[in-house]
């Protein structure tokens, strides 16, 4: 187990270093001058030079990479070019929306997908199975931003149950804050739940046709008992993989949904920063997301080991 753990940890660290170099270089070659963007079309050349100096844009590539990467090691992400506030602070604020939103959506997705997938698998070919498969097919096909707009139309504009977007802030109380995240979370969760339910179903069906299930049935377990005691646990590995991928996607990929609901989350921050060429913010947020993806994958790897003892011994 320890060996497995260390190996994974080493690959985690390597991935981070490589990612930071790639991100930095990729963004440095993006054309566009942040100073010119800020000062607009009437700016004079000497004014631009003064601002570039202020922003520290004049150093060499290596100097700037070292400054950025070195700072990150002790939690200092630098100062945003446009906002002139510490990037770490900005990211922290946005995380308070993006992280709960991603978790909320993931919970919804899991809560919907597990019963649906298990139910469909246990009653293969029945009406239930057909309905679950049909609905999830639709859920995968519908673009989530379209579904989001539809929900806004129904629940915000017509029924007035929710506001059309925005975030009231955690100061307004947990329930109100969660309420303002509900529509976005549902919009995000729908396609994820559909995918997850389908994976759950097919994985469970595969497991149910394995020899050890037949053996279990032969030992006298009912179909239901065999499913809950033996099949489910074995069917979980692909499901865990998908959940891990989904969490990273939900954290990083909510840009469009954040725009539809004008939520001040991480996605929106990246979006604004790219157009303003606030590269230090873009680099740091992307790095953070990469970090999140890698750590989640690491956690999923660890979870495999718990679910499947065979992996622990593997070289």
């Amino acid at each position: 187990m320890l060996r497995y753990f260390l190996k994974r940890l080493l690959s985690l660290a390597l991935s981070l270093v490589v990612a930071s170099i790639v991100i930095f270089l990729a963004l440095e070659v993006v054309p566009g001058d942040p100073a010119a963007y800020m000062l607009g079309i009437n700016a004079q050349e000497d004014t631009l030079a003064a601002l570039r100096e202020q922003l520290g844009l004049n150093g060499s590539l290596i100097e700037r990479y070292a400054g950025w990467a070195g700072g990150m090691l002790h939690g200092d992400f630098g100062i945003s070019y446009t906002y002139r506030t510490p990037v770490a602070e900005m990211i922290g604020e946005r995380l308070w929306i993006s992280l709960p939103l991603a978790l909320f959506a993931l919970c919804l997705s899991t809560v919907i997908a597990f019963p649906a997938g298990i139910w469909a698998a246990s009653k293969r070919g029945s009406v239930v199975d057909v309905v679950v498969m049909g609905v999830t097919q639709l859920g995968v096909a519908i673009p989530n931003f379209w579904f989001a707009m539809l929900m806004v139309l129904v629940f915000a504009i017509n029924l007035r149950w929710f506001s059309a977007g925005g975030f009231v802030g955690w100061d307004a109380g947990f329930l109100l804050a969660m309420k303002s995240l509900t529509l976005p979370a549902v919009a995000l969760a729908l396609p994820q739940a559909s995918i997850l339910a389908r994976v759950m179903r097919s994985s469970l069906l595969d497991t149910l046709s394995e020899d050890f299930i037949r053996t279990a049935r032969a030992k006298g377990l009912s179909k239901r008992q065999a499913l809950w005691r033996h099949a489910l646990r074995n069917a979980l590995i692909p499901v865990l993989t998908i959940i891990g991928l989904q969490f990273s996607f939900l954290l990083a990929g909510a840009i469009i949904i954040e725009n539809v609901f004008f939520l001040p989350g991480l996605g929106r921050l990246v979006f604004q920063s790219i157009s303003a060429r606030d590269l230090i913010v873009v680099e740091s947020v992307v790095m953070l997301l990469v970090f999140a993806v890698i750590v989640v994958n690491f956690a999923v790897d660890m979870a495999y080991a718990i679910v499947d003892p065979r992996l622990r011994g593997r070289r």
Partner: protein
Amino acid sequence: MKLLNIRTGLISVLALAASVGMAQAKSDIVVAMQLEPPHLDPTSAAAGAIDSVLYSNVFEGLTRFGADGAVNPGLAESWEISSDGLAYTFKLHGGVLFHDGSTMDAEDVKFSLDRARAEDSVNAQKALFAGIESVEVVDPLTVKVTLSAPNGSLLFNLAWGDAVIVAPESIENIKTNPVGTGAFKFANWVQGDKIDLVKNDAYWGTPAKLDKVAFKFISDPTAAFAAVMAEDVNAFVGFPAPENLPQFEADPRFQVLVGSTEGETILSTNNKMPPFDNVKVREALAHAIDRQAIIDGAMFGYGTPIGTHFAPHNPDYVDLTGMSAYDPELSKKLLAEAGFPDGFKTTLKLPPPSYARRGGEIIAAQLRAVGIDAEISNLEWAQWLEQVFKGKDFGLSIVSHTEPMDVGIYARPDYYFQYDNKSFQLLMEELNATTDPAARSALLKLGQKIISADYVNGYLFELAFPTVASAKVMGLWKDAPTQATDMTAVYWAE
């Protein structure tokens, strides 16, 4: 079961919140706009969004723009101009306090103007202060500004958001905590979401009628529509989806104000790049364009046709649209005379706003009809600034020039469209040196005619400024003479 309880609890909490909200008298407002300010210092960035939130509300200058675009007294209650036009003596209002409680006096004015024109200044409109030779404190309420040459636009220049008076001790944190003299104080900024202003009870002038103003930033046009429809916001200034305006007009809950702006939307033409260095080609371009079709197609009918680089609502505007009437046959003839009977290929580089992206498609089609093949590329603003504005690597582009009274850019041969006409440059010099209103008006009219006759750029339309608001909100500016959302006179009707 537990889940059900939480839901019931949630609903009752919401109902309670709603009823509390209803009982309050309306003295606060939520105003939405598309763009969020990058920071809160109007004196060190070009972003119009900074002025949209802070101009007149939080920060004031010596002079200020009124709703009609006129230059009115601001922190200066009066001024005297010496007979040679070189010295302006401003008399300041007494008893003006900054929001931090300190007194605003002549020292602060000197500090602000000197900071804007200093060597290491990062003021985006530094040219506004170029002619100022010195700023002297005569007494605590009197400031004397001396110019190196007469400048008829000084009072106008000082009304810009880039020329507001700031407190020296606030500079260090001005980008996140702006301290001004206005009728509203800055309260809070949730980045990416909103900025709150509260009433300044110690205001020197007419106090604001609202206690609280929240500016919310909603960039997506669909989200903007939903937010107004759901009445999450009370007003949306610069509403981004003109196609939805008729729906709001038909709804008694809302009022729609379509005002004018200082945004001349032009088909920018690279005057130094062949074949556009030939005036005949530029004339052919002008006649190939059907303005009304662009206004209808790209702006859903909102916009005023222009024939020169000047705002139609300005009293000095001359209607020259006839000079470049839509006439594709004439356009083809001119192209043939210029040596391009079969047309030519060029580039059309478009920045992100919808007037450019949508308008660009229509213009490309219109140009194709006379044989000009304009290859469209869509750019982000930062790319546009680099390639088109700085690099001058373009044939055509579409941009709205939103600075007020900016016809002077035609006197700068190194400006991105590279128009170099000595007589126009002399005319602008003369204009700068003229203070007599009648003479200025005559010069401005002549200038408009020169650039129109030279077909420097394709003149399309003046950008409209749509505001959608609750029918009960009164006192909003209809027009946008500068990028401001002046909330000082806004109130709720009963």
